[in-house]
């Protein structure tokens, strides 16, 4: 029995029914990894340790929620004794002495970490073209990008290699690749999941989350990923519900907000058609649509491209060739060490953002840029607060279109930055949001975004699950479509 494209729920049931042993499951996973190396979804594999953990589970079975389930981890999470590169030459030799809280939480729930997935360098990118370890291909077409920055995780799930993977989302890095690869991805409320051990890009926006084939699997993953972590002071001390418990509850009477300011007329007709069909489907499930206004939403992208680079310019200062990671050969003096290490260690997109960030924080510019951006951020948050007085969730397309071909936006960073038009607002406001597959455009999947109020992940997952039990977009497989 093939394990490809199976969900967590299905694999758990196979393991429980002894249809497959833990070791067989892991070995089959690695054979899928190897028959899909052209995707370049993984940077580092964890094969020996993974097989050993599976053997241990076969000897001493445990029945935790993720026992024996193969999971791929984005290479931005520190994994003890397993190389963690963040997609960068700078960390191409970095083996962390500790694991991220998310990794510990998932592994403590029994999961088996298969390997570390490819990603845009330091999570900066929307096409997985900025990785030092090469582009990731979209399983839906070798010429297509998988989206980014969690492109390797999205591709690994979309190709059915693993049922789920971890991702991180600073401006859309879970939802955009989920949309482009036809899978489900959730960015939780800021602070739901500990950032301890996540290599920081923009600390006030970064949030880890699950990527899987279904909303239900995302809920199972989220149950284990969340914790109140004393090692992260921005981690929320809030009750963590069982995110699976309300999934099937009817959404009759649900109020869904449509953002007046999102101008869909600029999108392809096919994209708009898919979106309108999803609205009709939700209406058939008993939901009502309400137009809402987010007056400051047009400022999201510029605000994001001030705040995120500013924080990144500071967060990436520690990569200086002194203590860990790459160091240039034969530095002549301290300045030479810094300049060459960072020139050689970082790629163009990372350098671009460090430059932008250093500029907006400079003396004399701080008030005009960074401080102003933080004020606008507050306004955007207020807009959402007002909107959520009228609606339960807010709906939009996740992306402006389906997967594009590699290199098609390479020379124009602004075009690439606009990829995150619909996803960025949720990061700025710290709100939970997810993307589910809701249709096909030119035989390529595309996603629907749902944004929830603070801590309302259960509501989002319920709304998504209701869609998935009555549609089959999430069941589409790239091999079937292509063959």
């Amino acid at each position: 029995m093939s394990i490809q494209y199976k969900t967590i729920k299905e694999l758990a049931s196979m393991l429980k029914g002894n249809d497959i042993s833990n070791k067989e499951l892991v070995e089959e996973t690695y054979s899928l990894v190897k028959s899909n190396t052209h995707l370049n979804a993984f940077i580092t594999l964890n094969e020996d340790a993974a097989i050993k953990k599976a053997e241990d589970l076969d000897k001493n079975p445990s029945y935790l929620s993720l026992s024996g389930i193969p999971i791929a981890q984005k290479d931005l999470f520190c994994t003890k004794d397993l190389r963690t590169t963040c997609g960068s030459n700078m960390l191409s030799n970095f083996i962390p002495p500790y694991s991220a809280t998310v990794i510990e939480n998932l592994e403590n729930a029994g999961c088996i970490s298969i390997g570390k997935t490819n990603m845009d360098e330091f999570a900066m990118g929307s096409s997985n073209e900025t990785s030092f370890f090469g582009n990731v291909l979209n399983p839906w077409g070798d010429d297509l990008v998988p989206g980014g920055s969690s492109g390797g995780s999205a591709a690994a799930v979309a190709a059915g290699i693993v049922p789920a993977a971890t991702g991180t989302d600073t401006g859309g890095s879970i939802r955009q690749p989920a949309s482009l690869c036809g899978i489900t991805g959730l960015k939780p409320t800021y602070g739901r999941i500990s950032r301890w051990g996540m290599i920081a890009f923009a600390s006030s926006l970064d949030q880890a989350g699950p990527m899987a084939r279904t909303a239900e699997d995302c809920a199972i993953m989220l149950n284990e990923m969340c914790s109140h972590d004393l090692k992260d002071t921005t981690s929320l001390d809030e009750e963590i519900p069982d995110f699976t418990s309300d999934l099937s509850t009817s959404i009759k009477g649900l109020k869904i907000g449509i953002v007046k300011e999102f101008d869909l007329s600029q999108l392809d007709n096919d994209v708009v058609k898919v979106f309108e069909e999803s609205k009709k489907h939700y209406e058939s499930l008993g939901a009502e649509f309400v137009e809402i206004s987010l007056p400051n939403i047009s400022l999201s992208v510029p605000t994001y491209y001030v705040v995120a680079p500013a924080e990144c310019s500071s967060n990436l200062s520690r990569f200086d060739g002194v203590k860990f990671g790459k160091r240039c050969d034969d530095p002549k003096n301290l300045e030479d060490l810094y300049i060459r290490t960072r020139s050689e260690g970082f790629g163009d997109e990372v350098k671009r953002r460090i430059l932008i960030g250093s500029y907006v924080l400079s003396a004399g510019f701080y008030d005009a840029y960074y401080k102003k951006a933080q004020q606008v951020r507050r306004l955007i948050k207020n807009d959402f607060d007002n909107a959520f007085e009228k609606v339960d969730v807010i709906m939009s397309p996740t992306t402006r279109g389906a997967a594009f071909s590699a290199g098609s936006k390479g020379d124009d960073p602004i075009q690439m930055y606009l990829e995150d038009l619909f996803t960025i607002p949720a990061n700025l406001a710290g709100l939970p949001a997810l993307s589910i597959p809701n249709g096909m455009v030119d035989n390529k999947p595309i996603g629907l975004q749902l944004i929830g109020n603070f801590l309302q992940e259960s509501k989002l997952l319920q709304v998504a699950h209701n869609f998935q039990i009555s549609t089959d977009w999430h069941l589409k497989k790239p091999t079937e479509e292509i063959n």
Binding site: F77, C78, C86, P96, P97, W196, T234, D320, K323, S362
Partner: protein, 475 residues
């Protein structure tokens, strides 16, 4: 033309917390390089800081003792610059909202009091150390100190000369040691300061261009650096040139300050709020608890020594001037009923020894415990006051234990009255001439007999007993 010197100090006080400002790493001094360093101190990818509340409590004590505003909500900012001993490429500090706002402190300069206003006192993490002289052609980095909590106390530019600056520094040192928030050991870098110096004409309202002298860590260097810098700036201005705004280093060997970097070369620190740390909120309960448990301060101690221990004001002032001396006094008073005796030793012999060596009581080899024993042995008549002086001198040189010295040298006072009587009788027998003269009215000769007994007993005789016995035998 008359010039006024305008001085402001930024004093960095290492807070005596068990662990670092943002990690569980130890703050202990003197460990092997890079052994007191955890993941956070090293700035590894993915680590996050967690603020140490005890550092806030200690900072608040300082704020309360200087009648300062306490910001119950304060926040952290990042100060970005590259240096090998700064692991993250930024220092976490309190730029926008410091824990302690405006306050003031009283200083004493040549007997006159002056109030120096304090602008602010904020928490920040210390950097590590770069070691340039240990490896040929290479620099070593020791991160043990990285992340140690510092309280940076910034004064208003209200200090007028080197003596006042030293008095201010001493007042801050006295306060932080009494508050038990810093060990005050300057040789270990527990207190360091940056001094801003500028000159203005007496009638001018605007301040002149200032130079900042970095990282001075002794009273002597502060005084010398300011005096040098004052003369340098006056010379420049009077020759028609202008002082350049810059950072300077003091070279203690050549006794001069040298330019380190000019304003143009100064870093743009790109300060911004640290997104990893939420603002720290101190509750009213916490603040009240700190207020109620504030340690006794020098002035309170002085008043108590006068009222409870019957000390003279001058004695009480000297004893309460340093935490160490006050501790010595209080501990020794537990060993005797005679607090005057304790005070006499501290204000007399010990102060004289300190003056002679020109050192601070913290720098002497006399421990509080040893001093207590010395007082106890005088009090229980094991040794006489005169012997005690010689014991003290030995302790001062060697730091050895008082009881060991008494035993090793056989200094125990002779209390045995029959033994003393037989010694005295023999001396009277051997000196008939002096006896006759004494009896003939030469009272002063009594001292001669006392001296002889002391000589015979190598000074160990209990002087009071000797007096009584001689009086009985001679009168």
């Amino acid at each position: 033309m008359s010039w006024e010197t305008v001085i402001g100090l930024e004093i960095h006080v290492q807070l005596s917390t068990e662990s670092k400002l943002f990690s569980g790493g130890s703050t202990g001094f003197g460990a092997e390089p890079n052994t007191h360093v955890d993941l956070i101190d090293m700035g590894l990818p993915g680590v996050l800081p967690v603020a140490n509340r005890d550092a806030f409590y200690k900072a608040i004590r300082f704020g309360l003792a200087t009648n300062a505003e306490i910001n119950q909500t304060s926040s952290f900012d990042r100060k970005n610059y590259f240096y090998p001993d700064l692991p993250k490429g930024y220092q976490i500090t309190q730029m926008a909202i410091p824990i302690v706002g405006k306050g003031s402190i009283k200083i004493l300069v040549e007997g006159a009091e002056k109030i120096i206003n304090i602008t602010r006192a904020h928490l920040e993490e210390d950097a590590g150390k770069s070691i340039h002289d240990l490896f040929e052609g290479e620099t070593g980095v020791d991160l043990n100190r990285a992340g140690t909590p510092l309280l940076e106390i910034v004064s208003e530019p209200e200090i007028s000369n080197a003596k006042e600056a030293v008095a201010y520094f001493k007042a801050v040192k006295q306060l932080v040691t009494f508050l038990d928030i810093c060990d005050g050991i300057m040789a270990q870098g527990s207190m360091r300061c940056d001094v801003n110096v500028s000159m203005k004409k007496t009638e001018d309202k605007e301040l002149g261009t200032r130079a900042e002298i970095k990282n001075l860590n002794s009273f002597k260097f502060i005084e010398k650096a300011i005096n040098f810098e004052t003369e340098r700036q006056i010379r420049i201005i009077e020759s028609g040139e202008s002082v350049v705004q810059e950072t300077r280093l003091y070279d203690s060997i050549k006794n001069e300050t040298r330019s380190m970097r000019s304003k143009e070369e100064a870093n743009d620190y790109r300060y911004f709020p640290c997104p990893d740390l939420l603002p720290v909120v101190i509750t009213d309960e916490e603040l009240n608890e700190i207020k109620e448990n504030l340690p006794e301060l020098p002035e309170q101690k002085e008043r108590r020594y006068i009222s409870e221990a019957n000390l003279e004001e001058s004695e009480a002032k000297i004893i309460s001037s340093s935490k160490t001396m006050a501790n010595m006094f209080e501990e020794a008073c537990l060993k005797t009923d005679d607090s005057k005796l304790v005070a006499n030793w501290l204000v007399g012999d010990i102060s004289a020894l300190l003056n002679k060596d020109n050192i601070d009581i913290d720098e002497s080899k006399l421990t509080s415990n040893n001093f207590g024993t010395l007082i106890e042995r005088i009090s229980d008549k094991t040794i006489s006051g005169k012997i005690a002086k010689s014991v003290l001198e030995e302790v001062w040189e060697s730091g050895n234990n008082v009881d060991d010295i008494i035993e090793d040298k056989g200094l125990v006072q002779i209390q045995d009255e029959s033994l003393l009587e037989s010694i005295a009788s023999k001396i009277i027998e051997d000196n008939p001439g002096q006896v006759n003269a004494y009896k003939g009215g030469k009272d002063k000769l009594f001292g001669f007999f006392v001296g002889q007994v002391m000589k015979e007993t190598q000074g160990k005789a209990n002087p009071q007993s000797v007096n009584e016995i001689l009086k009985k035998l001679l009168d």
